[in-house]
């Protein structure tokens, strides 16, 4: 087998890959290490401590932000998953102008920068005198999640064998029955993946949330932003470490769960 000869020794690409991974992991490693550092300022090592973690757990603002982030993420992901899945199903087999305009409508929120969506929603809500706060955050998150869900489900429908639907119809199934009993079960992994993607997008969103939030409403990213802006306290490091471990754990569960479905 001479594939090694074709691919080459990969010395340069190995070097760049090592550099790339150092680059990707350096900031995260720093945050994790610093979360155990006793020093309040700077990166000099001052001894091991867990005090930033205990301060973090005593911080009421962070807990409040954590819970609001959690319920916003799950609510908006659930609503967007239902709406987005039906959007993809109703839209996938269409043709012509409707399909073209629909594609653009679904893709645009993903392609246009967050800041434009944030600003335009803010102006929209203020112009309608809609009070800013959790409801507006929820609406904004549902909006961009619908697009993601529709795309993920849509791409799975491409692998879907249409003759199954014809078979179900021949056997007398109504449209809704076909959707609920045939299509949704067979694209269910994609629906779960879309839901999880929506949760992570909602949890991670800062820019859009920042613009549509109102007095009293806060999420974890907004809280983190104000902590960074206000002056850095090492409890941010502790928070990053916990979030990293938590997301690793959730993704691990996600992987297990998907295997279980298949």
């Amino acid at each position: 087998m001479n594939s090694q000869k074709i691919i080459g020794k990969r010395r340069f690409s190995l070097l760049m890959t090592i550099f790339g991974f150092v680059f990707l992991y350096l900031p995260i490693a720093i945050l994790v290490i610093m979360s155990f550092n006793d020093a309040r300022q700077g990166v000099a090592w001052n001894g091991f401590t867990l005090k930033w973690y205990s301060e973090l757990f005593k911080n009421g603002d962070i807990w409040k932000a954590f819970w609001s982030t959690a319920w916003i993420a799950f609510t908006s992901a659930a609503i967007a998953t239902v709406i987005g899945t039906f959007t993809a199903i109703g839209f996938y087999w269409r043709k012509g102008k409707f399909k073209r305009i629909g594609s653009i409508t679904i893709l645009s929120p993903l392609i246009f920068p967050d800041i434009l969506m944030g600003i335009s929603l803010l102006i929209f809500f203020i112009a309608l005198k809609f009070p800013l706060g959790y409801p507006t955050i929820l609406i904004a998150h549902i909006t961009f999640c619908i697009s993601y869900v529709a795309i993920v489900v849509n791409s799975r429908l491409e692998d879907f064998d249409y003759s199954i639907i014809e078979a179900a119809r021949d056997l007398g199934a109504k449209n809704m029955q076909v959707i609920l009993k045939v299509i949704i079960p067979s694209v269910f992994p994609a629906i779960i993946a879309a839901f999880l993607l929506s949760v992570t997008l909602s949890v991670d969103d800062f820019v859009i949330t920042f613009f549509v939030t109102g007095p009293g409403a806060t999420t974890l990213p907004l809280q983190i932003y104000s902590m960074i802006k206000m002056g850095v306290s090492p409890i941010i490091n502790a928070l990053s470490t916990i979030l990293l471990v938590l997301t690793l754990f959730v993704s691990f569960l996600g992987v297990k769960f998907q295997k279980f479905i298949f």
């Binding site: 890959t17 945050l31 920068p113 967050d114 800041i115 600003i119 697009s147 690793l248």
Partner: protein, 299 residues
Amino acid sequence: MKVILKKGFNVFYSLPGFLWLFVFFIIPTLIIVVFSFLTPGLYGGAEMPFTLSSYARIFSSSGFWNILWRTIYISAISTILCLGLALPVSYFIATSKHKNFLLNLVIIPFWTNFLLRIFGWMVILGSNGLINSLLFNLGIIENPLNLLYKPWSVVIVIIYMYLPYMIFPIYSSIEKFNFNLLEAAMDLGATRSKAFWKVLIPAIKGGIAAGILLVFIPALGSYAIPQLVGGTEGAMLGNLIARELMVSRNWPSSSAISVVFLIITTFGLFVYLRINNRKVKNLKYVLRETYDIEGKENE
């Protein structure tokens, strides 16, 4: 009995989704366009009559042109450097025995909150951060260097944030590449580098174009990164839009800059579609390629 001839389902099922996007995406975007032609209100907001003065104001301001130019060159440099790093990395991963493991390694940093990753860079680049402490302890510098709040600190963090968006599509096109073609080229006398540039690169140009699109457009729209690590010297268009809206309370001017921004983004997209000689339908394919990788690691 009614015979169903039409393939698929009634459009009715996708109506809630399109209605939602119409109300909360299309209408707000149109409102921005309308507001950009209105007169600024005394305490924020916008009033009649229609006017072009907001556009006249921003186009005649040198601050706007400076920031616009900076936004474009920061995004372009970041995209090029991202490509330069992503090409060898994706090549290595795609030809490695541990593809999935390495791809997961690329994704894991993404699981940390976006702002916290920016903060990690602030710790590295800050005046009493990692680099300055290292250089100080080695006796190379006496006073801390100003590494933050520069255009290039924005470039570093943008590359950091969007590198995986460049790696995924390039990786997936290299993965599909038939390496026998390289062998054939070399059998026919091409040197390795010639075979790379003339055979491999053209074959994966779809992935490269997708990567460029997925990095350049979000980079143009950066807001949080320049806000945190850019300072005044690294401020970008997104920061200008927000400042006009929140600090100057000039809604029409903020809307006008947003419209210009919208046009630039659409133009970038259009250029991409032209270069790639594909229609919107295939943009979906590009996105699918990207998200499929993420799907794959979940399977």
